[in-house]
Symmetry: C2
Subunit: 459 residues, 2 copies
């Protein structure tokens, strides 16, 4: 046994040297990626155009078509190996005329509230809907009240997001079910409409839209969101006059499906071209604002990942694809279609990274690797710590989730979440809310992680 000791030591020393060399090469490249992202704000400039020249771009809208054309044109200038459109049929929901929400009380008088229709909801039409309101704070309470109390009424989900969580998405996760499932749950008990308290911990006057999901074989009833200040006041007024009436008028409707596209740009891998890494965001947005944070940010950051790799002349060993998914907000058709086509073409997607949590300062990269666990990713923490970025267990995104069945590692950019629900799905999700450095740091974080994935793969 003694004899192999020197060999072992030398071999250990050599592998240590090689790890050092690798780290030092990688740390130099990551430094260059950050320099490029911070010194040349391409993502920020593209987002300016996407937000201010195109604006809100709900699936099926002319703006969504403009966003497809714009991002394809941008990627056409980057010297990529391939830029292409992937056809996908998307739902076409339109909001129509500005919504009305009004309290009518013989005791308290009449008062208008800031409201908006929930995405995919049916409209009341011009005749509107007038009914008594019953406030609930949970599905449990709704069920306890039962048909006797609910039938013929408008159910008011006054379900505030919990402000105590440090990560606001945790609170969103708990309360968003009332927006998505609330209308059908109420309709099952005979409700004629719903009012949803907007999903933010902040008290303000902006109603937050977002998708509902009607259940099969349940009456489809109109559904609106009310601002948090509005919810507070309506709750107070109901205590003062439980018989008050609420009038809601929405002109939204679901039209025929429309042809749209995922927009895809690709750099071919130099060593393992068949191993594909996706980096993406979603190209559609709600119509209320400009969709700058949700998810213009993820779109322009993903394109910037390709730009940065090209401009630093980094030739990734594995294929890197930026995908602008269409229709995350009210259908996920783009994400589903992408995964279907990947499977049909027997493509091997080793990993997918989505940025869909706003263009704020990146705090972490979340990873879910069902097959291999976290060890190989956590080793990269040493490389990313100088950039105040931490690799964490648990990642993913709506658009990339259909790839999970194919064994694709699910990865998300995790920006600081404190301000996201101030603007999410509202008229103030605009370019003015974007900070250039924060956005570009996100692009740098994504490019760095994609670089490491492209060098070392997922195991």
């Amino acid at each position: 046994m003694k004899k192999i000791y020197p060999f072992l030591l030398i071999s250990l020393w050599m592998s240590f040297q090689s790890i050092n060399a690798q780290n030092s090469k990688d740390s130099l490249i990551i430094r260059k990626i950050y320099d490029e992202a911070l010194q040349k704000p391409a993502a920020y400039e593209w987002l300016d155009f996407l937000s201010n020249q195109i604006g809100g771009r709900l699936s099926g809208s002319p703006q969504a078509a403009a966003a497809v054309a714009f991002t394809k044109q941008v990627m056409d200038t980057l010297g990529l190996d391939r830029v292409f459109l992937q056809e996908v049929m998307v739902p076409h929901w339109v909001r129509g005329k500005k919504e009305v929400g009004k309290m009518i009380s013989s005791k308290l008088g009449t008062k208008e509230f800031p409201v908006c229709a929930l995405g995919n909801s049916v409209g009341t039409g011009a005749e509107g809907l007038l009914a008594q309101v019953i406030e609930v704070s949970s599905f449990e309470q709704l069920k306890e009240l039962g048909r006797g109390q609910i039938e013929g009424k408008i159910v008011f989900y006054n379900t505030p997001m919990n402000p105590s969580y440090v990560r606001t998405f945790q609170a969103y996760g708990e309360s968003a079910k009332y927006r998505f499932s609330g209308p059908s749950e109420a309709a099952k008990l005979g409700a004629v409409g719903t009012i949803m308290r907007s999903l933010t911990t902040r008290l303000d006057d902006y109603p937050h839209t977002g998708s509902l999901g009607y259940q099969l074989n349940v009456a489809q009833i109109p559904a609106i969101a009310i601002s948090t200040n509005g919810a507070e006041e309506l709750s107070l007024r109901l205590k003062q006059d439980k018989n008050l009436l609420f009038y809601m008028e929405t002109h939204c409707q679901m039209l025929e499906d429309v042809l749209s596209y995922n927009v895809i740009g690709e750099i071919k891998g130099s060593a393992f071209p068949d191993e594909i890494i996706v980096v993406g965001g979603h190209l559609d947005s709600w119509d209320t604002g400009d969709g700058a944070h949700d998810d213009g940010a993820g779109v322009v950051q993903s394109m910037d990942v390709l730009r940065i790799l090209k401009s630093l002349n980094i030739k990734p060993k594995r294929t890197v694809r930026a995908v602008m998914f269409m229709n995350e907000e009210n259908g996920l058709r783009g994400g589903k279609k992408y995964a279907e086509e990947a499977e049909a073409a027997k493509e091997k997607h080793i990993a997918a990274l989505e940025s869909d949590a706003g263009g704020f300062t990146p705090r972490g990269i979340g990873v879910t690797d069902d097959a291999n666990g976290m060890d190989s990713y956590l080793k990269w923490n040493a490389l990313l710590k100088p950039y105040e970025l931490e690799i964490r267990e648990g990642g993913g995104g709506a658009d990339i989730s259909p790839l999970r069945n194919q064994g694709t590692v699910q990865i998300s950019l995790s920006p600081d979440s404190q301000r996201y629900f101030d603007v999410h799905h509202t008229e103030i999700d605009t370019f003015e809310q974007i900070n250039q450095r924060e956005l570009q740091l996100g692009a740098a974080a994504m490019a760095s992680f994609v670089y490491l994935l492209s060098e070392y793969g997922t195991r």
Copy 2:
């Protein structure tokens, strides 16, 4: 030897249990601190008043006196053991009439630029100052140019902050010397005035004020800051006409010193009342904005630390003092006076934590402990990680720095720094730039760390 094994194991097990119990008690208390801070936004409400009802509060101004009265009144309501004012004479610099900065060129015409006087600078008076401009990018270049090129001219320090650093304070540290020392360095070579490129990486139209420091026995020349867009344009115009003239007019002046105060609130320690922990920020601000981030945030967070401890009925073992220091911006008289009086009274200040980097999402707590190193603090990382907060080596703040000679551990709150220099020392450092959750998370971070210090001391 064998005999002591079981004893050792039991003893190890017991100390493990006790560490666990301690951690579990501490983690429960820290959870309560965060709940209190996030559910009851006291700091945010106080900052609304300080920013919107009082506003910019430069040392010696009526607003600074109002800020003294307001913060004392707030602390008087908190049920503290002691609230008191500490007298301090402060400089009284006044900006006077709005400044003028204008390029005059026979080739290019006349153009006004957004400018403001640097703090503590002498004014030009109504007659103004008209001279040729010479642009420099460093002190080295200034010295190379020498008296021959500099004499009689206005020196234009076009010294951009480096955008590549992830922590923006690093870039500020490198460039701020031109603001502070630039006027005297230029005057030594015969310059008649200086123009400073504003200290931000962003390109915009806001001039950033801030202190200069005139050197003894060097001519005191007028000094202004120009916005970054202004600096870019002036640099371009100088390339087009190197003989262009610049007219600057500032009406600032230094008046007689004024009596002012540090405002101090205290909770007496239950076990070690003679060991004092300071938590603080500075009460004065520049006059251009409302001083919401710099440093209204630190002030209201420090008061909120005491409020949180009181409202959770936490009785700290060591004395905790919130100190609102006067005159950080243009003299540091409050910080110096506080340390002098502490020394004269033979008080034992074991630690001081300053929040003076904006009311943004806290990322870290920086610690400099000259005597004991980092080990005992780093152990607390496990308690703070759930709150996305990291203990880091290296901390301090201007106001608490005079305590360092007395062996006081220097600690800083380190918020995310990306947006700070967008607003720092400008007219847009206002309450609108404050996010409630970010500010309150800072208060929670400070309260948690102060709680741990009060329980376990600094070694």
